[in-house]
């Protein structure tokens, strides 16, 4: 995927190349920088108009940082981002603010992301006011419409976040993003904090809204089944890098990277006797992103690792039909120390 940034005619809404985000690690009273936490380390990603790209990985893999960096809510350390034909890295001040209208985010933590002192009307209408949309009564009308669309009543506008349940607060977060009629929404673990019965309500709503408003989503989550349900394509991240990228069904049918294979086999499914394969239990923990392993970052836990993996970092390569994987032994079945799964 090292081809140059595409133009809007390709149907690419958001194109990112070589995205890096390093956070300095400071120690001592002088707060000297003693190292860098490589949260995102060289990611290329295209998101096409109308598609949902899922970003999946375990905690600390950099998926949330990547999502925020792509919106420039966090400044990338390096990289290019092109959104709707515009070079996002060149925008400053007002130009960037104006562009933000088209790029919204929904957070996991609906308690932390909604100011408890603001009424729902203020919360949902805040973006409209910032972007100078309509007058006060016009904005109120838009807020009511957005609330009703996400399944809340217009009376909700007068109330405060703490008066709502988790699922309802997530709907407020959605209304807040949607009221500006964005083109692109980053959904950062939007259903992870919800109970299963509420989770499916919100997932259905996300799908309906996408179709109704021609949205494009970047859906960040750790739950494979949830990501697989909502996404057209899935990118799997490990320690700051994309290790595999494919159409969802293809990724589940034919995972090529050993990490994806392990993730799939570790996922406990609420079905008895469905798993015929052997479970791959990875040993050890994810290494620190401050001092990641040389070569392939997964090699310290990889059942397929050879000497070459420590020396040469495998590039993200196309294995046909847009199925990318970053592994020297992509597609090799894992037969190592695994336990049979009942």
């Amino acid at each position: 995927m090292s081809h140059p940034l595409s133009t809007p005619e390709d149907g690419v809404l958001l194109g990112a190349r070589g995205i890096k985000k390093y956070f300095p690690v400071r120690r001592g009273i002088l707060r000297r920088t003693v190292g860098h936490l490589q949260a995102v380390d060289g990611v290329d990603l295209d998101v096409h108009r109308g598609e949902t790209v899922g970003l999946v990985g375990e905690s600390g893999c950099g998926k949330s940082t990547l999502g925020r960096t792509l919106l420039r809510l966090i400044e990338p350390t390096a990289g290019e981002i092109r959104f709707d034909g515009v070079d996002l890295m060149r925008l400053r001040g007002r130009g960037l603010t104006a562009m933000r209208r088209h790029m919204q985010i929904v957070f996991q933590d609906s308690v932390g992301s909604l100011d408890p002192r603001m009424s729902v009307r203020q919360l949902v209408g805040e973006g409209l006011a910032i972007h100078g949309v309509s007058d006060r009564s016009g904005r109120d009308r838009l807020v009511h419409e957005a609330l009703e669309r996400v399944g809340l009543s217009r009376e909700a506008a007068r109330r405060y976040p703490h008066q709502f349940s988790g699922g309802q607060r997530q709907r407020i977060g959605l209304a807040r993003a949607l009221v500006l009629q964005p083109k692109f929404v980053v959904a950062d673990e939007p259903v992870s904090a919800l109970d299963v019965s509420i989770q499916s309500q919100v997932l259905n709503l996300l799908v309906e809204l996408k179709q109704e408003f021609d949205l494009t989503y970047l859906f960040v989550a750790h739950d494979l089944a949830v990501v697989g349900y909502i996404s057209d394509r899935i990118a799997v991240m490990y320690l700051g890098k994309i290790v595999e990228l494919a159409i969802s069904a293809e990724l589940f049918r034919r995972p090529l990277h050993p990490y994806t294979m392990a993730l799939l086999s570790a996922n406990p499914e609420p079905v008895l006797g469905r798993k015929q394969h052997r479970r791959i239990v990875l040993t050890g923990d994810v290494p620190s992103p401050i001092d990641p392993p040389s070569g392939c970052r997964f090699r310290t836990r990889c059942p397929l690792a050879q000497a070459v993996c420590a020396e040469i970092e495998p590039p993200l390569q196309d294995h046909g039909d847009g199925h990318f994987a970053a592994c020297h032994f992509a597609g090799t079945p894992i037969s190592g120390p695994t336990r049979p799964h009942p």
Partner: protein
């Protein structure tokens, strides 16, 4: 297999300013020796309060109501005093929690914390206890245990801390392990490690487990029997295979169908459960699930259904008054 624990009509209430919150409202279940019972439900259904009640760890304003019976072997834990309970807790019944960081003491080494209960219950000396602590850490698969026994909790990863918690819980060879969401805070690959470890230890030590979780995937993988909780009650219980194959209570059925499975796509909408869990300060009259139930009829809104035989399960639903209800088609899964 003989019974190890039998809970009868357990009711635990919290006397709050807003009124009496009946968190657990008449729960019955039993655990056989060497078996694993999964207690599953969504947040606020009372599953964790049930676990705390069995350990008699409910603090005021919470109270286990009179008439509740917690029969462990031949003793009624609900009637024991604190001194007698101390002999049982951490010795015959142990518990592990969701977040090992908050259950471990940050100012003591993990070795000290494992050794503590050995000194208390097994009357070992400090040195003997530390040797046993290392053995326990090896048992739960902590690499270089001799060195890591001197680590403080913050020096360990989440997965390793949960292993320490398990080592602590198992060091007195308990008959019953209560595990409250033991893998919920962990990443999926680490969760897989901990679940494998629990299965292995269960086989080796022959203990019973009460596993509390919201995750039906973990239930499918770990347990022999399931009790499904909703709004402070058990609405269905029975062997895990029949619960998953043909759930008899509409809530169980709706829960199983609402979850996206690997391979499902947005082309087919999820069958969400409408509405929300009722407020525990004012549980609805009649069946508590009726306002959200697709099968509800007049009687459900008026009369509270008890657990009824729907062999091999039991289901608290009026549709099961004559036994099992007519089978409904299984959800479509592709891929």
């Amino acid at each position: 297999m003989p019974e190890l624990l039998r809970v009868e009509n357990l009711r635990t209430g919290f006397y709050t300013r807003g009124g009496l919150l009946r968190a657990v409202d008449g729960v019955d279940f039993e655990i056989r020796q060497g078996a694993t019972l999964g207690l599953v439900g969504e947040s606020g259904c009372g599953k964790s309060v049930t676990a705390l009640s069995v350990m008699r760890l409910v603090d005021p304003p919470g109270r286990i109501e009179t008439g509740s019976r917690i029969l462990f072997e031949d003793r009624d834990l609900a009637a024991l005093d604190e001194r007698e309970l101390e002999d049982i807790r951490g010795n015959e019944i142990s518990m592990i929690f969701q977040e090992p960081m908050t259950s471990l003491n940050p100012v003591f080494t993990v070795g000290n914390q494992i050794a503590e209960s050995l000194q208390l219950h097994e009357k070992l000396t400090g040195r003997e206890a530390l040797v046993r602590a290392v053995e326990m850490m090896q048992l739960v698969g902590i690499p270089s245990a001799e060195r890591r026994v001197h680590d403080y909790p913050h020096q360990m990863s989440g997965g390793m801390r949960q292993r320490v918690m398990i080592a602590m819980a198992l060091c007195c060879d308990p008959k019953l392990l209560i595990a409250d969401e033991p893998t919920t805070a962990l990443d999926v690959t680490v969760q897989a490690q901990i679940l494998e470890l629990m299965k292995e230890l269960r086989e080796r030590l022959g203990m019973s487990i009460l596993l509390i979780t919201h995750d039906l995937g973990v239930i499918a993988e770990m347990v022999d029997d399931v009790a499904v909780m909703y709004a402070g009650r058990i609405v269905e219980r029975g062997p895990v295979a029949s619960i998953f194959e043909s759930p008899q209570h509409p809530y169980t059925e709706a829960l199983l169908r609402s979850i996206p499975l690997l391979g499902m796509t947005y082309a087919e909408p999820l069958r969400a459960i409408r509405g929300m869990v009722p407020n525990p300060l004012e549980w609805p009259a009649g069946c508590r699930f009726a306002p959200r139930c697709d099968y509800a009829f007049d009687r459900c809104l008026a009369e509270d259904p008890p657990l009824m035989e729907a062999s091999p399960q039991e289901s608290a639903c009026w549709l099961c008054e004559q036994g099992r209800r007519a089978p409904s088609p299984a959800p479509q899964v592709t891929g």
